[in-house]
């Protein structure tokens, strides 16, 4: 396993991206509220 990959137990790197409605979504805004399943896609094409 590549040691550069993220590991269990690490803090998930925080990020903010703009959703399809133009609103920012920040991962850390879910802290204390929800478990998040984060899926990185291959791309639609």
């Amino acid at each position: 396993m590549n040691s550069l990959l993220l590991q269990n137990g690490e803090l998930a790197p925080d990020f903010t991206l703009i959703d399809m409605h133009g609103d920012p979504v920040q991962l850390s805004s879910y802290r204390g509220k929800k478990t998040i399943v984060l899926s990185f896609l291959r791309g639609f094409i």
Partner: protein
Amino acid sequence: MARFRDSYSGYLERQAELIAVGPDGLEQFQRYWEREKLPFIGLPDPDHTVAKLYRQEVDLLKFGRMPLNCIVDIEGRIRYIHYSANRMDYPDTEIFFNVIDELNAASK
């Protein structure tokens, strides 16, 4: 993605949210989400900023971007992470549900 759509109610029942991050642009995301009727959050990441932050693997010689799935607990820690070895290597929904159930049980 159909898999996430069809199992979405199971995530909601577990007080979990699904967020999908992809390399496509806004318009492609909008078209795809509308066509597939996806109920969860989709985030265009055309500059691959977040994909790089999470070390999503890219194999230019073979299949391009490899799927990467992780579960982040309520405190913001990674509790499950799966870097796919190929494009068909996708964890079963049951695996996700089991991890979330364990996290929910531990936080009670």
